[in-house]
């Protein structure tokens, strides 16, 4: 089995015994003036939910955040080291660091240690030169700048939705809605992923990062949009008994 091909198989193969997993749905979207990032809040150890209110949106610098998926320990360690290097870089240059520099630092660590790490990270932030920018760093340690990026085990279920719904040139509010909208009739990317992926769930946490600052948004579990929950069409009770007695239907 090529265990590098899907996120979930890789997670299971790489995580050590007892290690905590950020099986996840994360996403980041760029808009003119900043970025919107979002994540679910579930951390699992096998089928046990170790933390149902996790904050997977990690502050790296004043206007740069990262979304973490994969091994909780690996991503926390990498994020801490990148914070160290980026803060040093920022104070020596006297300016806010660029998102690209942060993403490059993540890439260096993720690629150099690719055999030991299980970390899928999305770096997003605002800087003076580029405005908002999003960088996807999947398992191998490649660096990909994209207008929007999704990651984690839950992301596989919403590629179609995101491809169909994303439009260039969305405003800040439209972008927030793309990620989480609970008012509009059409459902939202993260909520959809969370409803299909067993490793994702809980609450939705989001950050809107612009030049003026970082605004945190929160959608509690009971306010998540609900979609078609799926109902099996079963035969009516009377009919089932009749069929049974005729030997047509196996009793379950």
């Amino acid at each position: 089995m090529d265990y590098k091909s899907t996120m979930t198989h890789a997670d299971a193969a790489r995580l050590k015994k007892g290690e905590v997993n950020l099986g996840t749905s994360i996403m980041a979207v760029q808009f003119d003036g900043g970025v919107v990032i979002g994540a679910d809040s579930r951390t699992t150890m096998g089928s046990y939910i170790a933390n149902r209110v996790t904050d997977k949106l990690t502050h790296i610098h004043d206007r740069i955040y990262c979304c973490r998926s994969g091994s909780a320990a690996d991503t926390q360690a990498v994020a801490d080291i990148v914070t160290y290097h980026l803060s040093l870089h920022a104070i020596q240059s006297g300016e806010r660091p660029s998102t690209h520099v942060a993403a490059s630092l993540f890439q260096e660590l993720c690629y150099a240690n690719k055999d030991a790490l299980s970390a899928g990270i999305i770096v997003a932030g605002w800087d003076k030169r580029e405005g908002g920018s999003v960088y996807n760093i999947p398992l191998g340690g490649g660096l990909f700048r994209q207008p929007w990026a999704i990651g984690g085990s839950g992301s596989t279920y919403v590629y179609g939705y995101c491809d169909a719904t994303y439009r260039e040139g969305m405003s800040k509010d439209e972008t927030v809605n793309f990620v989480r909208n609970i008012d509009a009739p059409s459902p939202t990317a993260l909520a959809l992923a969370m409803s299909r992926d067993g490793s994702s769930g809980g609450t939705i946490r989001m950050c809107v990062i612009t030049e003026d600052g970082v605004q945190r948004l929160f959608v509690p579990g009971n306010e998540l949009p609900t979609f078609w929950e799926g109902k099996e069409i079963l035969p009516p009770p009377g009919q089932a008994a009749a069929l049974q007695s005729q030997g047509e239907v196996m009793v379950q």
């Binding site: 801490d80 080291i81 914070t83 160290y84 290097h85 803060s87 040093l88 104070i91 020596q92 006297g94």
Partner: protein, 268 residues
């Protein structure tokens, strides 16, 4: 032969002095003046800016530097030595954050810098750093302003107000006479500028002021803001001088009067 470089450059004299350290202090005395003043909820760093040569880019000469978001440093003495110390201190600030998950306290980083300076007085083949530093800041989650000084010997001390570099003795004496506890921000800034004006003859354009507030915000005063305060200070000095002259004239007149009447009394 390499063995000759193993010998310490800093050795004791027969009467217990470390002459290299004392010579390092001499180097510090040649550097441009820096002043630190602690107020009630702010702490101020003022530095004398060396006149920039004609073709030099003034932006590249920075005497007040950030070590971390909440700690600032100014030094006097050999600029290159200062730069090396600052780099080491900056790395330590981040390293502390990574291992302990907390920003440094001002005392911790001062102790670290002083420790480096001391090490270079007790190692083979190296000379002491020719810098003294003034370190200001607020400890994390704390509203008390801090001011520390380190010296080439590796001694560090806490101060309410202090100065290092050129004419630091004059400035310190001025501060001793004029310092008051619990100064507000404006008062502390004014005191800093006043004390620097004692030694900086050329006025506002050669003074740089950094104000640190308890929320960690650092403000560098603009040339206009400094000029405004300098003008105010000069006016006060002028008024004081005027008053003195007036009093002197009155005293002389009174004395003159006394002499005449005295002569009259004792005379014929």
């Amino acid at each position: 032969m390499s063995r000759s470089y193993d010998r310490a450059l800093t050795v004791f004299s027969p009467d217990g002095h470390l002459f290299q350290v004392e010579y390092a202090l001499e180097a510090v005395r040649k550097g441009t003046c820096a002043v630190g003043v602690r107020g009630k909820d702010t702490v101020i760093l003022g530095v004398e800016k060396k006149s920039v040569l004609q073709l030099q880019d003034p932006r590249t000469v920075r005497k007040v530097v950030m070590l971390d978001d909440h700690v600032c440093l100014a030094f006097a003495g050999l600029t290159a030595d200062g730069r090396v110390l600052i780099d080491k201190a900056r790395i330590e600030c981040q390293s502390h954050r990574l291992t302990v998950e907390d920003p440094v306290s001002v005392e911790y980083i001062t102790r670290h810098i002083a420790g480096i300076q001391q090490r270079y007085t007790q190692s083979g083949g190296v000379r002491p750093f020719g810098v003294s530093t003034l370190i200001i800041g607020f400890d994390p989650h704390d509203a008390i302003p801090r001011l520390y000084m380190t010296e080439p010997s590796g001694i560090y001390t806490a101060w309410k107000a202090n100065s290092i570099g050129r004419s630091s003795k004059t400035v310190r004496e001025f501060l001793e006479k004029n310092y008051a506890d619990d100064l507000d921000e404006a008062g502390a800034v004014k005191l800093t500028i006043k004390s620097l004006l004692e030694v900086v003859q050329t006025g506002a354009k050669n003074i740089e002021i950094s104000v640190m507030r308890k929320d960690g915000e650092v403000k560098n005063l603009s040339l206009d803001e400094i000029s405004e305060i300098v003008v105010e200070v000069e006016k006060e000095k002028e008024a004081e001088a005027e008053r003195k002259r007036g009093r002197l004239a009155a005293t002389l007149a009174a004395q003159g009067g006394m002499l005449e009447s005295g002569a009259g009394a004792t005379g014929a």
